[in-house]
Amino acid sequence: MTSGRRQSYGVKGAPYAFLIPATVLFTLFFALPIGYAVWLSFRKVKVSGLGLGAGARKEVWAGFRNYSDALTDSELIDGALRVLGYGCIVVPVMLGLALLFALMLDSDKVRLAPFTRLAIFLPYAIPGVVAALLWGFLYLPDVSPFHFVLDRLDLPQPDLLDGGPLYLALSNIAVWGGTGFNMIVIYTSLQAIPAEVYEAAKLDGATPLQIALRIKVPMVAPSLVLTFFFSIIATLQVFNEPTTLKPLTNSVSTTWSPLMKVYQDAFGKGDIYAAAAQATIIALATLLLSFGFLRAANRRQKQEAAR
C-alpha cells in the first residue's frame, strides 16, 4: 500500500521535475537578460561636475527618454530605410531563385540532382563573415579579378561599393548564402507531395509547367510562408555583411543598419542605455512584422480552405 502511494506521488510530480531544467535555463538565459535589457533601456547616467573621480557618475531613471530619442534619431530611421531597400531586393530574389531551383530539381528531367542540390546549398554552410570578406575582395576594384578582366577588355568597371550598386552588392552576398537553405526547405516539401496527385494531373493532360504552377506551388505554399517569415527576420537583423565590408569602403557607415547602430552605441559610444532602448524597439518591430505576416498568411490559408 505505502509503496503504491509513494509511487503515485512520484508520478504526479514527475512532469514538473522534467520541466525544471527547461524553466531554469529559460529564466536564466532568456527571460532575465531580456528583462535586464528592458530595465536598462529606462535608465541613463547622470554625471556631476567634471565627472572625474569617485561617485561622479550615477545611474538614474530616464523614463521614456531613451525611447523618444531612438524614435526621433534620424540615423536609426535612415538605417531602417536602408534595410528596407535591401530587403526589397534580397527577399524576392532569394525566394524566387529558391523556388525555381527547387522546382527544377524536382522535375523528372533533372540530371546530377544530388550534386546540384549540394552545390546550391553549399554557400549556406559558409559563415556570413567569411562570405562577406570573400565577396568584398571580389568587389574591390584594385584586387578584383573581375575588374582585372574588364580592364583588359576595355569595358567599364562599375564600383559596386558605392551608392545604389552597394545595395546590389550586399544583397548578392545574402542571396548567394541564403538561397540554398530556402531551396532545401521548399524542395523537401515538394518531395512530400504524393505521386498520385501528379498522375491525376497528367491524366487530365497538364503539361509539366502547368503541374509546377498550378499544383506544386500552391501545395508548397506553407513552406513559402515559412521561408518568407525567416527571410524577413534575417533581413531586419542584417549585421554581419555590412559590418565586414565597412572597413573596406567609405560607403558603409558604422550605423548602416539598425543593429549596427545598436552595436555602435553600446560598444563604440559606450551608451548601453540608448542601445538597450533601440534593441527593444527593433525586437518589437521584428515581432510585429513577422507575426503580423504569419497571421495574415494563416488567415488566407483558412479562407482558402473554407472555400
Binding site: F29, K46, G178, A234, Q237, N250, S253, K269, G270
Partner: protein, 443 residues
C-alpha cells in the same frame, strides 16, 4: 543576411551550453578568489588585461625576478585592443570584477577615470615621472595631482616616403604642409595614376594626431565645466587642408588597412604615408616587396619655424579601483614600464616603442628596424622627433568623437565634400553626448 532560424537555433543551444559551463567556472573562481583577499600580507596574485603580443613572456621575467622576491605573481590575459576592451573593462567594473591591471590607450584614460575605474597610484610609482617626457606623463595625470597610469608606449608621428620613387620623380621631401600639397600636385602631374598618399577616414587617431600637431585642444576644462574645441581654428585648418587635397584630386580618398591599400603601397601606387613610429611593422606586412626602399622624415610643419609632431597610438598600464592589491599592482606597472630589462623585453617580444625616454635609443633601438636597414639612424631620429610631441588634451567621451569622425569624414571623403562641415558634425555630436550624460559644457 541568410541567418535563418535553423542556424540561430543551433547557435542558441550552443550558447546556452557555453553559458552553463562559464557559470560553473565563474562559481569556482569565486571560491578561490575569496582565499586571495584574506591573504593580504602573504603572496599576491594579480590579473593583467593586455593586448600587447608577447606580454606573457615579459610578465614571466617579473614572476621569476622581482615578483618572486616580493611574492607578487602577475598573470597576463590577452585581450582585443581598442574600444571593445574599454567596454569590457567598464562592464567588469560594474560587476566589481575588473582585473587588477589594464592596458589603456591614452585617449580613453579620462573615460575610465570618469567611470571611477582607475585608482590613483601617485604614492606607489616612486620616481617613475622622471623617466618620461612631460607631455607623455601629463596624459596619465589628466592635469591633476593624481596619477592614473604609467605610460608604456608612444606613437610620435612621422612622414614616411619611398626614397627611390621620390628620386625618380624629382620630388623633394616636404618640410611644411604647403610643400606637402605641392609635392602631391607635382606627382599627379608627372604620374597621373599615382598618389602621394590617401586621406583615410577609418582611423580617427590619425586625424586627432594631425590636429594635435597643429595645436588643437579638443577637450579642456574651465572650472567645473568641459570645453570642447574639436572645431577650433587649428583643427579647421587641418580639416580644410586635407579636404582641399581630396577635392582637387591631389591625393586618394580610400581608407587604409584594406587589400587595395596594401597593394597600392606594395606596388608604389602610393608613395608616402603620414604615420607614426610603429609604421615599419605595418609596412613589413602591407608592402613586403618595398623593403629597404622607404625612408622616414619628420612630419611636415605648419610654418617653417616650428618643430612639433602629434601622436598616433600609444598606451599605458593602469591599476583599477577593484584591485585589492593596488600598491602591488602599481609596483608591477612601474617596473614594467621603467625597468631596463622589462623595456628591452617589451621591445624584443612585443615590438613596442617605449615611452620611457632612456630606452628609446638603447638596446633593441640601437639598430634600425629591419625594414628600414637603409636608414641606420632611424631610432636616433625617432627619439629626437618624439621629444617634439605636442601636448594632448583628451576628454571623457573621445569614443563618441572618434565614432562620429569615421562616419562624418568617411562620407565627406567619399563625396569629396567640405571637411569642415564634417568637423562641425563631430563637434556637435561630442557636445550633445556630454550634455546628455549630464556634464556641464561651456560654450
Amino acid at each position: 543576411m541568410p541567418i535563418t532560424k535553423r542556424r540561430r537555433l543551433f547557435s542558441k543551444s550552443a550558447a546556452t551550453t557555453v553559458a552553463v559551463a562559464l557559470g560553473a567556472t565563474a562559481l569556482a573562481a569565486c571560491g578561490s578568489s575569496d582565499g586571495d583577499s584574506e591573504a593580504d600580507s602573504g603572496p599576491v596574485s594579480l590579473t593583467y588585461w593586455t593586448w600587447t603580443p608577447g606580454m606573457d613572456k615579459v610578465v614571466d621575467l617579473w614572476n621569476k625576478g622581482p615578483g618572486k622576491k616580493d611574492q607578487i605573481t602577475v598573470t597576463a590575459k590577452k585581450q582585443a585592443g581598442g574600444d571593445t576592451l574599454v567596454t569590457k573593462i567598464l562592464t567588469a567594473h560594474k560587476a566589481g570584477k575588473a582585473p587588477d591591471l589594464v592596458q589603456a590607450e591614452y585617449q580613453v584614460l579620462p573615460t575610465l577615470v570618469s567611470n571611477d575605474v582607475l585608482a590613483d597610484i601617485s604614492k606607489d610609482v616612486g620616481d617613475a615621472k622622471s623617466k618620461f617626457a612631460d607631455g607623455v606623463w601629463q596624459q596619465t595625470t589628466l592635469g591633476t595631482d593624481a596619477v592614473y597610469a604609467v605610460p608604456q608606449d608612444i606613437g610620435p608621428m612621422m612622414f614616411y616616403y619611398r626614397e627611390d620613387l621620390f628620386k625618380q620623380y624629382g620630388l623633394k621631401v616636404p618640410t611644411t604642409w604647403e610643400e606637402f600639397a605641392e609635392t602631391a600636385r607635382a606627382l599627379k602631374k608627372k604620374a597621373p595614376d599615382k598618389d602621394l598618399t590617401t586621406f583615410s577616414a577609418n582611423d580617427s587617431g590619425l586625424f586627432a594626431g594631425l590636429a594635435q600637431q597643429a595645436g588643437a585642444k579638443w577637450w579642456t576644462t574651465e572650472g567645473d565645466k568641459w570645453k570642447v574645441g574639436i572645431n577650433d581654428a587649428a583643427s579647421q585648418k587641418v580639416a580644410k587642408f586635407w579636404g582641399d587635397l581630396v577635392k582637387e584630386g591631389a591625393i586618394d580618398n580610400q581608407p587604409m588597412y584594406t587589400p587595395p591599400w596594401n597593394k597600392a603601397l606594395n606596388t608604389g601606387k602610393q608613395i608616402a604615408w603620414v604615420s607614426a613610429v610603429w609604421a615599419p611593422g605595418t609596412l613589413t606586412t602591407a608592402a613586403p616587396e618595398t623593403k629597404g626602399k622607404w625612408a622616414m622624415a619628420p612630419l611636415p610643419q605648419w610654418s617653417e619655424s616650428e618643430n612639433v609632431t602629434g601622436s598616433w597610438g600609444g598606451s599605458s598600464t593602469a591599476v583599477t579601483t577593484d584591485s585589492k592589491h593596488q600598491a602591488a599592482a602599481a609596483k608591477f606597472a612601474a617596473w614594467l614600464n621603467t625597468d631596463d630589462a622589462a623595456l628591452q623585453a617589451l621591445a624584443k617580444e612585443s615590438g613596442i616603442y617605449p615611452a620611457a625616454t632612456n630606452a628609446q635609443t638603447s638596446g633593441a633601438f640601437a639598430n634600425p628596424p629591419e625594414f628600414f636597414s637603409n636608414q641606420p639612424d632611424f631610432y636616433t631620429k625617432a627619439a629626437e622627433i618624439a621629444k617634439t610631441t605636442a601636448p594632448s588634451a583628451w576628454g571623457p567621451n573621445v569614443n563618441v568623437a572618434y565614432t562620429t569622425f569615421k562616419d562624418a569624414f568617411g562620407s565627406a571623403a567619399k563625396n569629396k565634400s567640405d571637411f569642415v562641415t564634417a568637423l562641425n558634425t563631430m563637434q556637435d555630436d561630442t557636445v550633445a553626448d556630454l550634455e546628455k550624460q549630464g556634464f556641464e559644457v561651456s560654450e
